[in-house]
């Protein structure tokens, strides 16, 4: 399967590529209860890239959750 670059995955998930946005992704990812938590440092390190790939695979499901929070439910 062709892998999308991490920056594109971030954008597809609704984040920008700035350190602040990467930190926001890392915090949101940790709330999903992964086996290993990400360090919150705002950098696209190896663990964050792996987490991005996982979250990108789940993007359709995550969009359902995002719809919910946008609706204030």
């Amino acid at each position: 399967m062709k892998t999308m670059p991490p920056a594109d995955q971030l954008r597809a998930l609704g984040y920008d590529t700035t350190p602040a946005e990467i930190r926001r992704f890392q915090q949101a990812y940790n709330r999903l209860g992964p086996e290993r938590l990400l360090a919150i440092h705002g950098e696209l390190d190896r663990a964050t890239r792996a987490a991005l790939a996982l979250a990108y695979e789940s993007r359709a499901l995550l969009s359902i959750v995002r719809d919910r929070s946008e609706a204030g439910r």
């Binding site: 999903l32 359902i64 719809d67």
Partner: protein, 236 residues
């Protein structure tokens, strides 16, 4: 001639008693008016009681159909349930796009959960391209699987959390049918509430039917209701 007409209902409606049955033609002629009156009263009484009973039953059934007795839009009462075969007797191979499992008068605990996406693969491949979103879906509705890319069923081994979801799904669906689980009457997205139907094998395998059920549980949890509340109501 008159006596024949009188005696006919005595034979068909009321069993003759030894006291009132005339033993001779003379006896029959001697008390014609009183016999006729008693039999007629009993016959009319029985007929009126039967008629009232049937009328009452008819009104009750009409009320059930029309929702006069406070029933919600949930289908919980249908004695005609021809599809009662075991879970895996019928493979879920035919996609039913957006059918919501049908809106007819059948109970919900029959057949399999609908394939909401209509994906020809038999489940939503866009939502579940890999094990990660399956795990995430389970987590979102309260099953503590780790969020990772690992399969839930290595070597086709049953997963305890998947089994628990399958069991609780079945309890919720059966609870809707029995009335112990209450669904919102005006949910934001009623189509997902309608799709709460069908039962699962409790085999711990995250197969197509289970993924379809999980999609419905997650969508409802995100938009209409809390899955854990339904499970609690079902007593699962």
């Amino acid at each position: 001639m008159a006596n024949q007409a009188i005696q006919a209902p005595q034979l068909t409606l009321v069993p003759p008693s030894s006291e009132s049955t005339p033993t001779t033609t003379a006896d029959a002629k001697a008390e014609p008016t009183e016999e006729r009156s008693t039999i007629a009263k009993v016959g009319i009484g029985a007929g009126a009681t039967l008629g009232l009973g049937l009328l009452g039953l008819g009104i009750y059934r009409l009320g059930m159909w029309a929702g006069w007795w406070g029933a919600s839009g949930i289908v919980i009462d249908d004695p005609i349930r021809p599809d009662t075969q075991p879970d895996d007797a019928k493979p879920d191979t035919k996609p039913k796009p957006n059918d919501g499992g049908g809106g007819g008068s059948r109970g919900r605990a029959s057949g399999k959960p609908p394939n909401s996406s209509g994906d020809p693969e038999g489940y939503n491949t866009e939502l579940y391209p890999s094990p990660a979103p399956v795990r995430l879906g389970l987590k979102l509705v309260g099953y503590p699987v780790p969020y990772s890319s690992e399969t839930l069923n290595p070597n086709s081994k049953a997963n305890a959390d998947v089994t628990r979801f399958q069991r609780e799904w079945n309890r919720v669906i059966q609870g809707i049918d029995s009335g112990s689980v209450k669904l919102p009457s005006s949910p934001p997205e009623p189509k997902w509430v309608e799709r709460l139907r069908g039962t699962l094998d409790t085999d711990g395998i995250a197969g197509k039917n289970t993924l379809n059920a999980l999609e419905i549980a997650v969508a409802n949890h995100a938009r209409n209701l809390n899955w854990r509340d339904l499970v609690k109501q079902a007593g699962a």
